[in-house]
């Protein structure tokens, strides 16, 4: 059993002590590079992905390693490159389409929802769309309302798409590799604030299944389900709860679609309390689905209503004095969980 710098425990079966640590950003790059080396059908297209290695520097080096044919700087045409992704995918390639900020996925909705998600089905199973849409989520960079959203719920709603929201470098690498190998369109949301986050990642090759939750911390009194960087927020709360004598179990679904409902429900049945934390807008977001699934599946075991904490239902404001209020804080998670156990 190995422990991340910040105290996250990873699945014991997978990690060995003394493993190397790399950043989330490096983990993504490794995953992409390994898959590009493994399968020449994989290519990357997006704005400033080649020369600049993406604005978050996640892809630096790929251009040198794989050349301009496979790491392609595009015009600022999100809808167009998503469409190119679909077309390339159904004709034998495995594109990775890079959408710089998750906020700009609003521009690719038609290609993802009406084309990518439905092509396999509408063709009666004949065409497949093995593409990955890489993008970001997460606030708190003082980037205001159009560069701070966590819009993963929108894609999670659409059958035919898979959606991954990795929290750790380990998960990021394993899920990215699976996403690239998957024969379906997968949207992967990377939290901008996590790119420098370090964590253990084994040297060797591994993939993680899409649709398998990970228990990041085992506990007895309450289940906290958290996604993406909210895993770290929740972890801080878990530590504080421990100090207050409350043993919390931290479950990370890792993918919202498919959702590992079983693990979520099992955990809630065991602890008899559940709290869901996600950085998307709370209304009609990920917390709603997860809470509904748990409240239904664990109904007869629950000692308290399932609570949820999403981002405030407001556009993300610029001013630091306001922005930090809009996203779930460790304190608030702690207080809420504590009250539930009271």
């Amino acid at each position: 059993m190995s422990t991340l710098k910040n105290g996250i425990v990873c699945s014991p079966a997978i990690h060995a002590p003394g493993e190397r640590e790399i950043t989330f950003s490096q983990a993504i790059r490794e995953a992409v590079a390994e898959e590009m080396a493994r399968d020449e059908r994989v290519f990357v297209i997006g704005e400033d992905v080649a020369e600049a290695g993406s604005v978050f520097k996640v892809l630096v080096g790929l251009l040198d390693e794989f050349g301009a044919d496979r790491v392609i700087d595009s015009p600022i045409s999100e809808a167009g490159i998503a469409g190119i992704g679909v077309g390339a995918a159904i004709t034998g390639m495995r594109p990775i389409v890079d959408i710089m900020f998750g906020d700009f996925t609003t521009l690719v909705m038609d290609q993802m929802i009406n084309q990518a998600a439905k092509t396999h089905y509408m063709s009666g199973g004949k065409l497949t769309v093995p593409m990955v849409l890489r993008t970001t989520l997460g606030a708190s960079r003082r980037s205001a309302a159009q560069h701070s959203q966590s819009l993963h719920a929108l894609f999670s709603h659409i059958p035919g798409l898979k959606v991954a929201v990795p929290a750790t470098p380990y998960d990021a690498k394993g899920l990215m590799k699976s996403a690239i190998r998957d024969d379906n369109p997968v949207v992967i949301f990377e939290d901008k604030m996590l790119y420098q986050q370090k964590g253990p990642v084994p040297e060797g090759e591994y993939v993680l299944p899409l649709g398998q939750a990970d228990v990041k911390r085992a506990g007895e009194d309450i289940t906290i389900v958290a996604t993406s960087s909210m895993v770290y927020t929740a972890l801080e709360a878990v530590d504080k709860l421990a100090e207050a004598g409350i043993s919390a179990e931290l479950v990370d679904p890792r993918t919202t679609t498919p959702l590992d409902t079983e693990t979520l429900i099992e955990s809630a049945r065991k602890t008899s309390r559940a709290l869901v934390v996600d950085e998307g807008y709370q209304q009609y977001g990920v917390t709603g689905e997860l809470a509904a699934v748990i409240a239904d599946g664990a109904f007869y075991y629950l000692d308290a209503p399932v609570k949820r904490i999403g981002a405030m239902n407001v556009p993300v404001p610029f001013s630091p004095a306001m922005e930090d209020l809009t996203i779930p804080s460790a304190d608030y998670v702690f207080e809420t969980a504590k009250a539930m156990c009271g």
Binding site: A79, I84, A89, S123, K126, P130, D183
Partner: protein
Amino acid sequence: MTETNGTKQNGAELDAEHWLQAYEQMVRIRSFEEAANELYTSARMPGIAHLYIGEEAIAVGMCEVLRQDDYITSTHRGHGHCLAKGAALDRMFAELLGKEAGYCRGKGGSMHIADQETGNLGANGIVGGSAGIATGAGMSIKLRGTDQVAVCFFGDGALGQGLLYESMNMAQLWKLPVIYVCENNQYGEYTHNSKTAAGSMIGRATGFGVHAQGIDGQDIRTVYSTARLVVDRARNGGGPAFLVCNTYRFRGHHVGDIDRPYRTREEEEEWAKRDPLKLLEDWLTKTRQADASVFERIQQDVQTAVDEAVNFALEAPFPEESEVERHVYA
């Protein structure tokens, strides 16, 4: 808006057999569509369909120069493209009726009909929605290093969609082998394009540096020779092209649009004179390559095949209930 600055050729280099095949293909589309209409009016077809009648020369002229491994993307008005690229009548009717034997196992219907084996990447219910897909197919061709070509069919209405311009820009930047074929049948649904398209259609492609031509879409010989030009050019690395094929939707927007208050009967009659089947018949007759008896025989043979295909489809079973959950994910 009707624009031509295009190729005019007489097809003299091709023999009668070629043109009679093309003729048969056009007749096949015409008869297919008449039968689809009949299935609709007799309430045996679920939903609606958008008929290609009047525009046959474009799909057939373009697809004649394509190989089976070339790609096309199609539109809501997609039966003609599908047949022209080589799909079979029976499985197409089966799809229109929502049967398991249909090309999409009944999941697509008229608006998403496709036969991937003959290179059709699919009809599309989103106007302009396939511009990116065709361009991506072009990208895929370039990356895989084959000499295939992708043809993107769309209507004049799709000129309103920004995605088309994003796509053409990239196709030109990267010299992708994509032919954008605008089937300018003058209307988008119930609105004439003089109300919806400013400027020049061709200019919308030349602005991006894309080779563009406006041609007579009723004359299959013109379509064919222009297609030959731009497809060969694209195949040889010359990059994308944009064709505006001027044509007319002889019927309503869809099978249910029978009154057509938005246009005059006179206009319809004028265009009827330029029926693509008739134009080819006339030329073949005038040049003594064929006569009425030949055309009649072809029409009858096709009609028999269409009737059989319709019967096949009518008798084919619906998919089982379990089918509904299959193919959401691969």
